[in-house]
């Protein structure tokens, strides 16, 4: 089946991101396709390039990136939610005259239309909230 995940919790602050990553790995392990992970609300913090948890704690940002690298899962971050929370990629940083950027590939800033698209084309969309 084709799955999508909607993640709305920031890493560390609640368990949402942990549960979502565990679920993502399990569904892929069962042979399903994860068509995309859409990060919305505080979930956009899962794309924070500079996240630096202690060595002995889970690294959610890296975890999502590894999932993308291993299984080709698109990581789509709602641009409006991200910008409000200070999460910008190079293009948006340049556009808004900001020094430095806080999001990089494989995370991609997109619009809510991508969430609607995932909902339309996937067999299951599972939401993880804080």
């Amino acid at each position: 089946m084709r799955y999508a995940i909607l993640l709305m919790g920031a890493p560390y602050s609640s368990q949402a991101a942990h549960s979502a990553l565990r679920f993502a790995r399990a569904l892929v392990g069962r042979g399903h396709r994860l068509e995309g992970v859409f990060f919305y609300h505080d979930g956009v913090h899962n794309a924070a390039r500079l996240a630096t948890p202690p060595q002995d704690e889970p690294h959610l940002v890296d975890g999502w990136a590894a999932l993308a690298a291993e299984h080709g899962v698109p990581l789509q971050v709602c641009i409006a939610a991200a910008l409000r929370r200070g999460l910008l990629d190079e293009r948006e940083a340049a556009r808004h005259g900001k020094q430095g950027h806080s999001i990089e590939p494989p995370f991609e800033l997109t619009g809510l239309g991508q969430l609607v698209d995932l909902g339309l084309h996937c067999d299951r969309l599972v939401t993880f909230g804080p």
Binding site: M1, Y40, H41, L112, V116, G119, L120, H121, L125
Partner: protein
Amino acid sequence: MPNEKVQGVDGDLLVILRHAPHGSSWLREGLDAALVAAAFGRRVTLLFMGEGVTALVPGQANGPLGQKGTAPTLEMLEMYDIDTLLVEAEALVRFGLAVEGLMLPARAVAAAELPALTADHSLVLTF
């Protein structure tokens, strides 16, 4: 495969809004998702549940720090062809509101109707 969903181009979406205006971004973000879905041609039903019913209290204003709030977005629903606004009847009672006094036309739904709502839409998002 059992239970694979057959998708039409405009499957019905139910957006359940469970949060009040201003106190968090949930209501705003839920409405934004609903509007985009409608703009993409999906038929969207909004269900205001629990404190979400207070989203429809008339006479709302900007927040004290200039936050826009959600009343302006709600005024736009009709333009996006979102005209099915449902409000949880028990919540209206709890908050002392009457469906006729809300800022937009809405239909009160009793608890007994809720399971049919979640069952009858092809995608349910909660905010």
